[in-house]
Amino acid sequence: METLKNAVDFSDFPRIDLVIAGAVAFLFLIFPLFSASSFAMATMIQFFMFSLYGMGWNTIGGYGGQVDLGKAQYVGIGAYTTAVMLLRWDIPFWVSMPVGMGIAVIWSFIIGYPLFRLKGHYFAIATIATSLVLKDLFTVWSFVGAARGLEISPITYPPPDYMRLIFKEDIYYYYLILGFFFLGLLYMNWFRKSRLGFQLRCIKDNEDMARSLGINVHWAKIKTYAIATAFVSMVGSFHVCYIKVIEPVDIMSLDLSILIALMAMLGGAGSLWGPIIGAGVLIPLRSYLKEWLGAAAGLVGIDLIFYALIIMIVSAFEPRGIWGIVEKVRRRKRR
């Protein structure tokens, strides 16, 4: 009961934040009624997915300060579990999603145990390495389609299929991921104020201090990593139903891992709104840059240059991202 109360308790934010958040939430709800453009819809769905990826990253990377650059491996585990189970055994999304989460969590324990013996940059590099190894494995594993990947054909499953999540119109995906988005937000609101959330924030501050306060630092990190993993894998399962085609080079790419981390850091690592703000800035930017610049953008990496510029500007002012700037201004005003 108290858990539920804490999840919906946003009272530590100033009223203005809640008014803005409420207004934005309302806009999200009515957005499909006004938007005719399928491009805008697709961008919004991407935005929700990446917000959720960012929220997952934010548990261990933001509140815990353990910079994780390997989240794509968990996107991959979720996506592949759902795709393989559907294509081979016709198992619906609502079963394969939790199974994927379970597999991802088990994998996270296996690599988390040794990885969290490492600190700082070594940890970041190790997460990249494990993700790339898993990607290479999938590239040669014929059971999961090897390098060609897998494709879910909408013809086999006449839409709308609520069990397998096969729809023709984006509006179905929109409201579904919006539902996940709100649930994810409530979960994160609970998490940041939970015992584990506090312990993690203390670990980020000072590990020796955390130990002296009775926190098993290693175990707290592993647990949180598992939570982050479950989050990301869940969205990965949705991701594959939405895009319908997966290849290891895409879904487990370093690019994706970095984009997830970058968004959360840009918006504000270790804050509730951070990943949402970050995704809100980067995802439309990415979509529109691609649209405006055409295929050339991807080739010469102009979009990457834009991200890099933004990151440099933000981190020059405030390493805690856009939300960090907001908080700084507020604290200054208060005194």
């Binding site: 015992r195 506090f198 130990r211 604290r331």
Partner: protein, 259 residues
């Protein structure tokens, strides 16, 4: 059986014997002082007792249980709290939230942890600072907040590492009063590392003196103040000769001149 018993505790770093076969014991609700020149091994002794460092040899027995091999977080669970000589607070947890972290050791409930933290902050007269970040506070307040954080875990034994360093006289009086209150009214056993001699002499029931890793003296404050070995090691030989009596205030400077 004593509350805390340290038996022949030795800790080496490479060739350096930071703690050299130290033995002492402590009764419940005692308040003792631990003094000695810089580098004598005081902080290392705390680190060993708290499980932050594995000991090289010797035994530590706490409340009848051999805890020599336990890790730091397990020691906190058993009821040993500590503060750190240097603590640069960062992060976005407020004072109240920092104290809650310790309180969460014994409960999963946020409201219970909050009540526990509020009680401690009220008790240490820090309640008005609840919503500040630690880094926003003056040094004296920070030191008391650090004590409050340690108290969050409900320790039965509290190890305080130079909590009065860098404070002026009225601030020292204030923190001394807090320490005494924690000891007398909350019933917490305390070991206090301190360089400000007035403070140690006044609040401690007993003092242990370390030098070059070894225990060189132990006894009530008045006896320690006249102990020739202590004067030689800590207060300075030339100083003792010149003054005959002991001026605690300037003892550290004098010590530094000699070393």
């Amino acid at each position: 059986m004593a509350f805390l018993e340290v038996q022949n505790l030795t800790k080496t770093f490479g060739g350096l014997r930071a703690n050299d076969s130290i033995s002492f014991s402590l009764e419940r609700e005692e308040l003792i002082g631990l003094i000695g020149p810089n580098g004598a091994g005081k902080t290392t002794l705390f680190n060993c007792i708290c499980g932050h460092h594995p000991v090289t040899s010797g035994r530590i027995i706490f409340d009848g249980q051999d805890v020599t091999a336990l890790k730091a977080h397990a020691m906190a669970r058993l009821g040993i709290g500590r503060t750190f000589q240097v603590y640069a607070a960062t992060g976005d947890l407020t004072v109240l939230e920092k104290v809650m972290v310790g309180c969460f050791l014994h409960t999963r409930s946020r409201s219970k942890a909050r009540a526990c933290a509020e009680e401690i902050l009220g008790d240490l007269k820090l309640f008005d600072l609840s919503d500040y970040l630690v880094s926003e506070l003056p040094v004296a307040a920070q030191k008391r907040v650090v004590m409050a954080m340690a108290l969050g875990t409900q320790p039965r034994l509290l190890l305080l590492d130079e909590v009065a360093a860098g404070l002026n006289t009225p601030e020292i009086e204030e923190i001394m009063a807090s320490i005494r209150h924690v000891n007398k009214d909350r019933g917490v056993t305390v070991i206090l590392i301190e360089h400000v001699m007035e403070m140690v002499m006044k609040v401690s029931e007993r003092i242990i003196v370390l030098d070059y890793g070894a225990k060189i003296a132990e006894g009530p404050p008045e006896v320690i103040a006249k102990d020739s070995k202590v004067i030689k090691a800590y207060l300075g030989e030339r100083y003792a000769k010149e003054h005959g009596t002991i001026d605690h205030r300037s003892s550290i400077n004098d010590q530094n001149q000699i070393r």
